[in-house]
Symmetry: C2
Subunit: 230 residues, 2 copies
């Protein structure tokens, strides 16, 4: 383990793939996954969209840097934040850059309320193409991880506000997985999983009132093994 002078050429960046859910403009009954991207103001890829991120500071941890990035671009605190992958191909950017990429969920209600700074815009993930650097590939991988993880953990709740109906939770799953789910079976499964707790409140609307649920704080949203607080 000898420090070479060549080492100085390698720079470390942190980027974050931020997922939120919103009702589609075309049909309010549908949901779509959206993500904020930042317009680059300098070369390389000037004018192109890129993932929010920045250089790692010597005095901050990796997750701290991701949370800072997220705060700076969305003004939000994530309801879920996890490291995605470290990208370090030699030719992925001019100059040798290793990017530690995180992915995050923000709540639907918060995302729509947040005031986006200049140069930041939210796009549906489905229509995101032609991002700067290798960011298309990164988004594809993050989307795959999200979809995977929704299948075997409880992170879908990270998209929802404190109180929600079972139908809303089911719609989140349907939007992420891209298929419709049987309401009856969905209800039984999430109830059996202990992932949510029934409250005494109901949401009234056009039809029979629906019971409101809250996430069971005693359970982690996802089992991350021995790395709870990285």
């Amino acid at each position: 383990m000898t420090q070479t002078s060549a080492q100085d050429e390698i720079r470390v960046a942190v980027s974050t793939v931020i997922f939120a859910l919103r009702r589609t403009p075309e049909d309010v009954r549908e949901w779509e996954i959206v993500m904020p991207v930042v317009k680059r103001t300098r070369d390389p890829y000037e004018g192109d969209w890129a993932l929010p991120g920045g250089w790692l500071r010597p005095d901050e941890g990796l997750a701290d840097a991701a949370a800072r990035t997220l705060r700076e671009t969305t003004g939000l605190a994530p309801s879920y934040l996890e490291q995605l992958y470290a990208f370090g191909a030699v030719d992925r950017a001019p100059g040798r850059t290793v990017s530690i990429v995180y992915w995050a969920l923000v709540r639907a209600d918060e995302a729509s309320a947040a005031v986006a700074p200049e140069n930041v815009e939210w796009f549906p993930v489905k229509r995101l193409r032609g991002l700067a650097f290798d960011h298309d590939e990164i988004v594809a991988y993050a989307s795959w991880r999200l979809q995977n993880k929704v299948g075997y953990s409880r992170i879908a709740q990270g998209f929802l506000p404190e109180l929600f109906t079972l139908a809303e939770l089911r719609e989140v799953y349907e939007a992420v997985l891209g298929k419709s789910l049987d309401p009856a079976n969905f209800r039984r499964q999430v109830e059996a999983s202990q992932a949510i707790l029934a409250t005494k409140e109901f949401r009234t609307g056009a039809h029979r009132p629906a019971r409101l649920y809250e996430t069971n704080q005693a359970l982690e949203l996802a089992d991350r093994g021995p790395l709870r607080n990285q």
Copy 2:
């Protein structure tokens, strides 16, 4: 995204957690998971054991660096190599170091045949304690990932030579999962999974000869989503 001069203080290392399987010295019918570690020859942690690794070179990719590390310490090529996690806590080492950690499997027969260089020793993972830096934590996380992944993918075959019996494959699962499995049900499950192909050869021994199988190359050992060749 402005490059600060402080950035120069951050160094990038690559380390690898290397798993192999061997029969225990105490009881040849038992298997145990072993891992090579390197004795540090300089401060910090001089004389302690640490994961094999080194500084990332500007002209090599992350996985290339991990494979080089693996080759230098074991003389082997991995049958499976995957990125584990990027560790970058501010205080994890004197001077700011971000470590991109990989984990690898090497075949049982190759591992025992490999000539370990000076300063490298193989230890059972169960008895590994007091490694340098945060390497205890890294080994714990890698072990958790291995155990997890064996549950839902086919990587267990990465421990075995080209031809193996069903009993050998089952013993690998038993060693990694730490519990015994029903031979009859195990057989049916792996046969149904298409993960292995029957050959026409048999292994003779003390009892009824056992059919030899080979891994089905058409299937990936583990689904890694859109990141096939990182």
